[in-house]
Symmetry: D2
Subunit: 178 residues, 4 copies
Amino acid sequence: MSEILDVTAGWLTVDELSSARETLPILYVEAIPVRVDAAGRVTGVGLLLRARPDGSVSRAVVAGRVLYKERIRDALIRHLEKDLGPMALPRLPVSIAPFTIVEYFPDPTVTGFHDPRQHAVALAYVVPVDGDCVPTQSAIDLAWLTPEEACSEVVLAEFSGGQDRLIRLAMAYGGRLP
Amino acid sequence: MSEILDVTAGWLTVDELSSARETLPILYVEAIPVRVDAAGRVTGVGLLLRARPDGSVSRAVVAGRVLYKERIRDALIRHLEKDLGPMALPRLPVSIAPFTIVEYFPDPTVTGFHDPRQHAVALAYVVPVDGDCVPTQSAIDLAWLTPEEACSEVVLAEFSGGQDRLIRLAMAYGGRLP
Amino acid sequence: MSEILDVTAGWLTVDELSSARETLPILYVEAIPVRVDAAGRVTGVGLLLRARPDGSVSRAVVAGRVLYKERIRDALIRHLEKDLGPMALPRLPVSIAPFTIVEYFPDPTVTGFHDPRQHAVALAYVVPVDGDCVPTQSAIDLAWLTPEEACSEVVLAEFSGGQDRLIRLAMAYGGRLP
Amino acid sequence: MSEILDVTAGWLTVDELSSARETLPILYVEAIPVRVDAAGRVTGVGLLLRARPDGSVSRAVVAGRVLYKERIRDALIRHLEKDLGPMALPRLPVSIAPFTIVEYFPDPTVTGFHDPRQHAVALAYVVPVDGDCVPTQSAIDLAWLTPEEACSEVVLAEFSGGQDRLIRLAMAYGGRLP
């Protein structure tokens, strides 16, 4: 085991993660960042633009693995900060119950949610952010759209893996499905 | 109809409200104000102290009627401001679905929630507040307690109308029931 | 007060209801009846066909007022039985928290949900029914559609008052929004 | 890789599972089986009695791992059948969103939910069962208690790993916390 792994006890090497991905569902958190008005109504949806392994680009939401011994809330904060920067000021909900569960399968016909690498189960949240957001790391861009724009056919077509449906589920949850 | 009612079209005179209370369920909103940490965990619960009609005092949550042609979110903001002051900065949830419905009956044996004046149905929310709170209007005091303190027997005994149970339901929803 | 009202203490005469409708939000329950498979997945949506006051017909969900001193669950069961018959065997959810709140206004531009008669606030539930359903009372017909059919443009166009959106919110809640 | 694993592609050997448990959060589902009346109110709670590795016995809820490429609803049905027998007739909720997330850590001080073997994250559901339940496999007994009995101090003391709190959260969700 490498020095790095001694420090970050319980994290996986690339090989170990690759092996786990063939044998276990992998736990994720996903967050749809939103802007809200003073009465809590969703006024904007933050969509990332990411480069995909095949060279194409795709709209995406904030997402990432829950690490060994990491709490759900801490994983959410970590990924929100990783994707939106340290000044985003996310407001996690009072209840840890996600508004939906997204089941990604290597086979796209099982649920419509598709991840060629793995069986991933994501706890999904809609998270108001109050502060300045700057796309970081793997994200090329961050765009704020109205709920109507985010649910338009042209924008929904820019998602991959079935995440266009996740956006519509999130807007329905917030009462903002057009 | 008085001049005031001409202006506030659709509001009720005292007599009309008294009559409606004998014939219809009256719609309320209730909010349990909370303080949360950076990861959204509830760290404090705001409890009001109110004088009751019989001269006793009682712990209470933010509560009030939804007016004719008033939206739920607007009623919540209005009552939060009325009870906590204009600087409370409440954060209403993304979804308008309440975490529970509280049914108050004149007969205390029906649901355990009791209002001698009326059959009231309250949409209940847990609402993080970020700003300065000052008890206003009918509230004598506002105290911030930890979830453990708020659910202690001595504090729960200071509520009336069954609202001690509402506090415990709210803490359960937030994962903070001791 | 009429003899009937002596018996059904607290119910409203037509005049009184008409008066209340101009001064108070009126509390409703609404239920979207569904068929589910053995694992609880929604496979069918029950849509009523109702005659409207203007002579047209419209798709509709199960809906009705909550009466004075009536509990929410009892109102739901009463309206489900009224609209689907006594053999429908509805399965109300474990939690009384509705999946959404629908705010109907005389002005259709406020929320998109519209009721020309009144300001109505409906607690909305998705309710699996296991038994035989027969449209009764004001309903002309009851049709079972797949979630895809129920969310098709041609079917959604047959609703009024904005209830097409309620159907889509219900399907999103059940993870079956196409 | 053994012949069994060729057949049940993606399942783990005991060694592999043991290794995964030291490096990844393991995904579980948990179900609190309940009896409900005709209006959906919880009237009884089904509690299992299980032998623990150390020879003691403990109250428990229905629980188990989500397997590779297994859907959440299928995992729930499989574990309900495993623990309550094939005639239990469980009624899974319309929405796959769990009522809470339970985070079990090897260190009991992190969340109060404790599993010495692993970091497990459980999606928790309250599931009405209509049929005949017989404790099977590792369960010694199945007892049906009222919500009041299930939340009594003497019964709560018979749980381990913090699951007494899960029972109270489930009763709060169903509006039946005493």
